[in-house]
Amino acid sequence: MLKAIVTVMLKKGIFDPQGRAVQNGLESIGFDNVKSVRVGKQIEIALDTDDKASADASVHEMCDKMLANPVVESYSFEIKES
């Protein structure tokens, strides 16, 4: 059993209104050293396999096909034993 931890974030340069709202929110309650905030998704996928290489390939494919929209998002992931 392996576990893939996929992180999907808006690409750099693409406006992240959620991040900005969180930043303003944090500032308004007194956190004054916040330079910037970006909010993305973390997707944890439990995989029924022990083969890291094939898991790697298939998670890549999942990201390209479904988990991230390459027009606006970029992704990264790591694969762990679980």
Binding site: L10, K11, G13, I14, F15, D16, P17, R20, A21, N24, N69, P70, V71, V72
Partner: protein, 744 residues
């Protein structure tokens, strides 16, 4: 790289999207060669999207004035009078190209953009609608993804910004497979005294930018929208704008608060070509010049070049022209809403458009020349397919053996079935003015505190326009107006969205020109002037070709009293059903031919605009007199579908018998124009029939509403349809859910 491409790239103006002759013209205007900033200004302002280079010459056909028209085309949105010194303003706008690439954001920012047009008029946005066209889902998971993302995007934006989405349409044809259409409409309300204009008057007055920060979003969107959708656009993809409805909501509140004061002389929203087009347009209207320092523009990104700042399409921004000396007061109000209002330049008297960076001039061209985009009258040539499709005869198809089954298939057709799946995702009740919610013929939105309301509709029929652009386009206006009158509204005016393929193709130009003529004819006959619109050309892909010619009509009407509000569902068993209008042997262009026989062929049904106007006046009159219990127009799918819809929504059965000498399928499914189906109580039957006779309208009492849960249709004593209400309701109500669930 092909040789042709290499050649294209050597000339910088070509890369910017300008032709050789356009380049020559602009150097003549300037008296010298432009620098990169100046070239970018022209490239944007002279694109189809901003400059209407191909459509402007055709607008002369439109009727644009009338007794209720306060503002015709030329402002951010048109304005119509709804009595009592109150007006509504409305417009539609396409977001086809962005939605094809990033459907969620593309559709969302489309909603946001059109709301700002309405806000720029000084109005409070009271309703949103959308017209959507997709390829058939089912075969490609991609299409289902597009549909669900577009609808999600519209919902997220509209719901958050607090403007109810009260109606629209969703239509399907493979003509839209590669290039979906997403057109959004917004309606605003204000008092006559509150009207604002997009004008930069008063030399020395300040230009202030309000709302969002400026980033590299939608870079070149205006010229991008004026190109084909093809594989080259991969690099344009970084350009997708992200909408922030929360920011927009604050912008609405803050702007309206500022408008209440006496600080603002002009307002313009920032849409295509951002700061540039908004400021050029306001300056040009006043005959003034402006200067803008890009260094003063609050930015989200670093190291932006001057032309990037000028043409950025970052969302949720507006340009205000404010009286000198009131800047701080304006800023205070925006500050209250956690927004900024920043002076970026001023109105000048020299007629020049001057771009500065840190006080240093980096571009300077005459304002008028930016507004003076060259226009093109191109060759028109009848599309080749018409010779073939016009040959269609009804005899080419057989009457289906099982008419009950045919009716069920039509009720489940994605064009006809219930769109609850869609509008359940839209808040259609916020603001508490929605009297008739989505699912009826027209949405009815009341004016709070008054005994009146507005009817709002959006309609199109790409198939009709493909088969007969002129009559097809006229039919859409007629249908829209029919939807208004059956809802108790008197049609007032329209806004049009011209969605077409590449106008440089003679057959597409023909479609464009003929559609505009058709629209214009109908608008004259029905007295619904055109008060604004939008053009989206180049809707085509190499893989799927050109879209159907798809003019989309947004119409508003006035419901003079809430007592006049009318809906299509049958109300009570025992009521009489009345058919208005003659039924002809017309199958051409119908949903039935398309869905059942797989044929997009034939001519569109005849349309007698004089009869149409007369019939509509009659329907409105009997509704206003309180003689009618339900009213529905006969549209897609013909009499049987109209009947079934009134039964399904009223949860009642009906039994009708006609007496018409046409084929069974023409009778049941044909789309002869200018027909209505009413239900009236026994008490009012004579009054309705007598008035019809007086007005010369064909009216037949065809049957009664009942509560025995079946729908039956007879013609010439032959039973054609005998089906359970439940079966019809199931087909109609579940089709869209199924469509979105089928896996491929």
């Amino acid at each position: 790289m092909t040789e042709k491409k290499a050649e294209m790239e050597e000339k910088i103006w070509r890369k910017a999207g300008l032709t050789d002759s356009e380049y020559e013209l602009l150097t003549k205007h300037m008296g010298r060669e432009p620098n990169t900033v100046e070239l970018a200004l022209y490239a944007q302002m002279w694109s189809e999207h901003c400059g209407y280079t191909h459509t402007r010459p055709l607008f002369k056909h439109f009727l644009t004035t009338g007794t209720r028209i306060v503002q015709g085309p030329g402002e951010n949105a048109g304005i119509v009078d709804i009595d009592d010194d109150e007006v509504i303003t409305f417009k539609l706008e396409s977001h086809n190209h962005p939605s094809a690439i990033a459907p969620f954001q593309g559709a969302a920012t489309g909603v946001g953009g059109i709301i700002r047009d309405i806000l720029a008029m000084g109005a409070y946005p009271i309703a949103s609608l959308n017209s959507l066209h997709f390829g058939h889902p089912g075969e490609r998971g991609h299409t289902r993804w597009l549909i669900s993302e577009v609808i999600h995007g519209i919902g997220e934006y509209g719901n958050c910004v607090g403007v109810p989405t009260v109606g629209g349409e969703v239509r399907f044809s493979d003509a839209y497979k590669g290039n979906p259409l997403v057109n959004a409409m917004c309606v605003g309300y204000m008092k006559k005294s509150e009207i604002k204009k997009a004008i930069a008057t008063g030399v020395g007055n300040s230009l202030m930018i309000v709302g969002n920060l400026t980033g590299r979003d939608g870079m070149g969107g205006a010229s991008f929208a004026s190109k084909d959708l093809d594989e080259e656009n991969d690099e344009d993809r970084g350009a997708i704008q992200v909408g922030d409805p929360f920011m927009e909501k604050l912008l609405i509140e803050a702007c309206l608060e500022v408008f209440d004061k006496d600080y603002v002389v002009g307002v313009q929203d920032m849409g295509a070509a951002g700061i540039l087009s908004s400021s050029v347009e306001t300056a040009s209207k006043a005959g003034n010049g402006v200067e803008i320092d890009v260094a003063l523009v609050p930015k989200r990104e670093e190291a932006m070049r001057p032309e990037e700042v000028m043409i950025s399409e970052s969302q949720e921004r507006m340009l205000l022209i404010v009286k000198k000396g009131t800047e701080d007061k304006v800023n205070q109000i925006f500050h209250k809403w956690d927004l900024h209002a920043v002076v970026i330049g001023q109105v000048t008297d020299d007629g020049m458009y001057r771009v500065l960076e840190d006080g240093k001039t980096v571009g300077e061209v005459p304002v008028w020349s930016l507004m003076d985009a060259p226009t093109y009258i191109l060759d028109a040539e009848e599309p080749a397919h018409l010779a073939e499709t016009m040959k269609f005869k009804n005899e080419d198809v057989e009457v289906p053996a099982d008419l009950n089954d045919t009716l069920l298939k039509l009720l489940a057709s994605p064009d006809i079935c219930s769109k609850t799946w869609v509008y359940r995702q839209y808040d259609h009740r916020v603001q508490m003015n929605t009297v008739v919610k989505p699912g009826s013929d027209a949405a009815i939105v009341r004016i709070k505190g008054r005994d009146k309301a507005v009817g709002i509709t959006m309609d199109s029929n790409g198939r009709y326009c493909y088969l007969n652009p002129k009559r097809g386009a006229a039919s859409i206006v007629a249908e829209s107006a029919r939807n208004q009158v059956v809802s108790g509204a008197e049609p007032i005016a329209i806004t049009d969205g011209l969605n077409f393929g590449n106008p440089e193709r003679p057959d597409v130009y023909y479609q464009l020109e003929q559609s505009i003529i058709g629209l214009s004819d109908a608008c004259r006959a029905l007295n619904t002037p055109v008060i604004g619109g939008n053009a989206s050309l180049y809707n085509q892909t190499p893989e799927f070709g050109s879209i159907y010619p798809t003019p989309i009509i947004g119409m508003t009407g006035l419901v003079k009293s809430l007592d006049h509000v009318m809906t299509p569902e049958f109300k009570d068993a025992g009521d009489f059903i009345i058919m208005l209008g003659e039924t002809k042997d017309e199958l051409g262009a119908s949903e039935y031919l398309d869905r059942i026989h797989g044929l997009v062929s034939g001519d569109v049904p005849e349309l007698d605009l004089e009869l149409e106007a007369k019939s509509q006046q009659y329907v409105l009159e009997i509704i206003r007199k309180g003689l009618v219990k339900s009213a529905h127009d006969v549209g897609d799918g013909g009499i049987s579908v109209a009947l079934a819809e009134s039964c399904i929504q009223g949860k009642l059965g009906a039994d009708i018998s006609l007496d018409v000498d046409v084929r069974d399928d023409s009778l049941l499914f044909g789309e002869t124009q200018t027909r209505f189906m009413l239900s009236v109580s026994e008490d009012n039957l004579d009054a309705v029939i007598d008035l019809a006779a007086e007005k010369g309208i064909e009216a037949a009492v065809v049957g009664r509403v009942n509560d025995n849960t079946r729908i039956t249709v007879n013609n010439n004593n032959k039973k054609l349809i005998d089906i359970s209400l439940d079966a019809c309701a199931d087909a109609f109500n579940t089709a869209f859910d199924k469509l979105m669930k089928t896996s491929n």
